[in-house]
Point group: C2
Chain length 261, copies 2
């Protein structure tokens, strides 16, 4: 079967990235490029569609690194700063006068985007060069080109958060859940037996708003996922130390990694 | 006379940086490191004080590049996204429980910061790792350690904007005005004859919210500034082409440039 989608990890880091400002730990001072992590985000490309999930402060840098020149949509998992503060840099994807970017987020996240970027949402700046959007509150599955995207409710601190299940026709392609402590039973039912799962695995130690690596590995097993790539890492994750300890079908992602599915 | 302050240009780019996403112009595809521009910001260090002016989305990256590990204050020129959206990354400068960062901005900018980063301003997140701030609305000159800083009213589109004049004791050190179309008569009086001026010089062509290079050169002459470094450049500024055309006391800044004064 030929590839139906290409996923690029734009960033695999937690809210403050790796290296962390002012941190002298072995990972933050490491030369290993797999220990350099911008804020978590993915790009998804199919034969018909190019979209991004989340636009943290590193979004411009990530687009330049990966040569992203066209987007049909931007999806948001939740309203934390490390996932939304690069929103204005989407402006480069609506430079032609007739272009508008489709924005998909839950109501709370749209409200936060509106509060932070009021000049984009109030429709006053319509001239060349400004970001022009069509906001879509997410209430259930939605289509972007040839993709059907189903929101996956998860628990992640106090902010309403979701992952996304991507399908093309009847085929489940993969799911992306970068920020979660608990994945809902509703989401688990949708994910059971999925071939490819991209999942929060913050660090070896437990954390109150994120899955630890052990918790993520256990969840991947419970879901009988074919292959799981962990993401959203803190500087407690040294690639070379942790990667060899994982089960055969669980891996650590890194910035710039591309997967076909 | 020994140096009283060191200025580092954290970024010298306009709102979308250089290279620009999706742009194939000669500057955006140039290998010259002086044509690579993060969003405009400076760091200022004196024997007593370390502060930053503006925290755009590149702020984390800029701190890592320049090894900034301590800040006493963050000043804001205005509320545009390219100057404020890295605000959350200041959290690494208040990691100790007793630390708070002094924030100086005009009322409009504080309101925008509050709207975008409500969880920092509402005082609910006081635990380790979150940004703890003391906001100061700017109404006139203020002191940060051994520096006296005077706001310089300027016109820059629709948003209330200022530059800053930095002095130590009776000595004017330098002024920084990254975003201006018109510098007020009040500001001109404060700046006349200043030794070192860091000034908006967006591009060769006129622009309705920024000084062009010719306009900036003319203003530097009118102010009888000793030495002027232009900043906040678009991709219409090729360093090697434009730099040689400037008067002997006017220069193009670049990311990472350090000046002593």
């Amino acid at each position: 079967m030929e590839s139906q989608a290409e996923i690029t990890f734009l960033g695999t880091g937690t809210s403050i990235g790796v290296p962390v400002i002012g941190c002298d730990c072995a990972v933050c001072t490491s030369d290993d490029p797999k220990n350099k992590r911008l804020r978590s985000s993915i790009h998804v490309a199919t034969p018909e569609v190019s979209l991004v999930v989340d636009t943290g402060p590193d979004f411009r840098q990530q687009c330049l690194r990966e040569g992203i020149r066209h987007l049909d949509a931007a999806l948001f998992t939740h309203a934390h700063s490390d996932h939304i503060m690069g929103f204005d840099d989407l402006r480069r994807f609506t430079v032609r006068n007739d272009e508008q970017l489709e924005i998909y987020a839950n109501a709370e996240c749209l409200d936060r985007l509106h509060a932070a970027f009021h000049y984009i949402f109030n429709g006053e700046n319509r001239y060349h060069g400004y970001l022009k959007i069509v906001p879509h509150p997410i209430h259930g599955p939605f289509a972007v080109g040839d993709l059907t995207i189903t929101p996956l409710p998860v628990t992640h601190g106090k902010v309403e958060t979701m992952g996304f299940l991507f399908a093309r026709g009847e085929t489940r392609l993969f799911a992306y859940i970068p920020d979660a402590k608990v994945v809902s039973e509703e989401a688990k039912a949708l994910l059971h037996g999925i071939d490819l799962l991209l999942l929060d695995g913050l660090q070896p130690e437990p954390h109150w708003t994120h899955l630890s690596i052990d918790e993520a590995v256990a969840l991947a097993g419970e879901l009988a996922a074919g292959c799981t790539w962990l993401t959203h890492f803190s500087c407690r994750v040294d690639y070379k130390t942790i990667a060899p300890t994982l089960p055969d079908n669980v891996f650590l992602a890194w910035d710039g990694l591309r997967l076909q599915c």
